[in-house]
Amino acid sequence: MPTDMLDRWREQDWQLIPPTRLSASENLALDEVLTGRVGRGERKPTIRFWQWAGPAVILGRFQSVQNEIDADAARRNGIEIVRRITGGGTILAQPDDVIMYSIYVPDSFVRGLSFADSYREFDHWVIDALGELGVNAWYEGLNDITSEGGKIGGAAQARRNGAVLHHAAVAYRMDHELMGQVLRIGQEKLSDKGIRSADRRVGPLRQQIDLEREEITQHFIDFFRRQFGLTDDTITPDEQQEMQRLATEKFQTRDWVYFLP
């Protein structure tokens, strides 16, 4: 691990895009747009917190729809099915149940880091921020954030056009019944985890601390600002336009969502 990582965090002129209510496909499109802009030097390194207009199930880049979800059950429950540009596993995102953030930074930031190390590095501050709230959390495997109370989150990365996109989802609350209906979690996936029940793998924050979701999000923002500096920013009209075009022309298309049926 390079010894100057803390310097690298502090050297960036970080911009904050606060939670902005968008549809699932807009959220995913915005990740692609902002990654491209940071890579081309048109936008400074940025951290964005997500907000959802409605419930969605988000597949990883390489997951098959049928293997991961019961599409009929998703439809019955009014859940949009979308696919993101990063690898990793499926997330059931209900607007009030999850805290998600994306970090966009030029790839010089991860110079000298292995893929595995870069995952840990990007979420290190969140682990520390959770610690301040009394949640003892740590990184497990390649991309999981876990705690004494169970798994609380996961991260994924894409690298393109000279930039890294690192996004992570932290579970605030979990609707186990809905998850059971919509997500298919096979036994093989649990084979090396030593546990049988999918429910027991998770420990959403609401079960662990008495804070509202918005309060935790605000703590994350404050913590990041305190550690590395942070300038308030917004999505520009230009970015918004590109996001909407990409949401329609790519992320909402059947070709993209059912790329692996």
Binding site: Q63, G89, G141, R160, E188, D192
Partner: protein, 102 residues
């Protein structure tokens, strides 16, 4: 036919395929792994298209290894993991009464 393999401490690899006589057809590799660049998946899946059915893990591992484009990063899985899932898929016996459409 469907096979899965969870890499210890790594990610899940899923292979769906059909057998056409002694050949593999319509091979689809999926999972919660990470792959850079992302279009390398096409090369991995294509390498197994028309491969001989009923071969050993070592044979499939070599086929996939040879097809990995230069500069590709496979994170949380490997040609070996894909080969195991390919062998498992061919051992898959569809259960009666399941509604699996693949």
């Amino acid at each position: 036919m469907h096979g899965e393999y969870k890499v210890p401490k790594g990610k899940l690899v899923v292979v769906d395929l059909e057998r056409d006589g002694d050949r593999l057809r319509n091979v689809q590799i999926s999972g919660d792994f990470f792959l850079y660049p992302d279009d390398a998946l096409d090369a991995l899946s294509a390498s197994l298209e028309g491969a001989v059915a009923g071969a050993s893990e070592a044979v499939y591992r070599e086929i996939v290894t040879a097809a990995v484009p230069p500069g590709t990063e496979m994170v949380g899985f490997s040609p070996e993991a894909i080969a195991i899932a390919v062998v498992r898929a061919q051992q898959d016996e569809p259960e009666e009464g399941t509604d699996r459409a693949d």
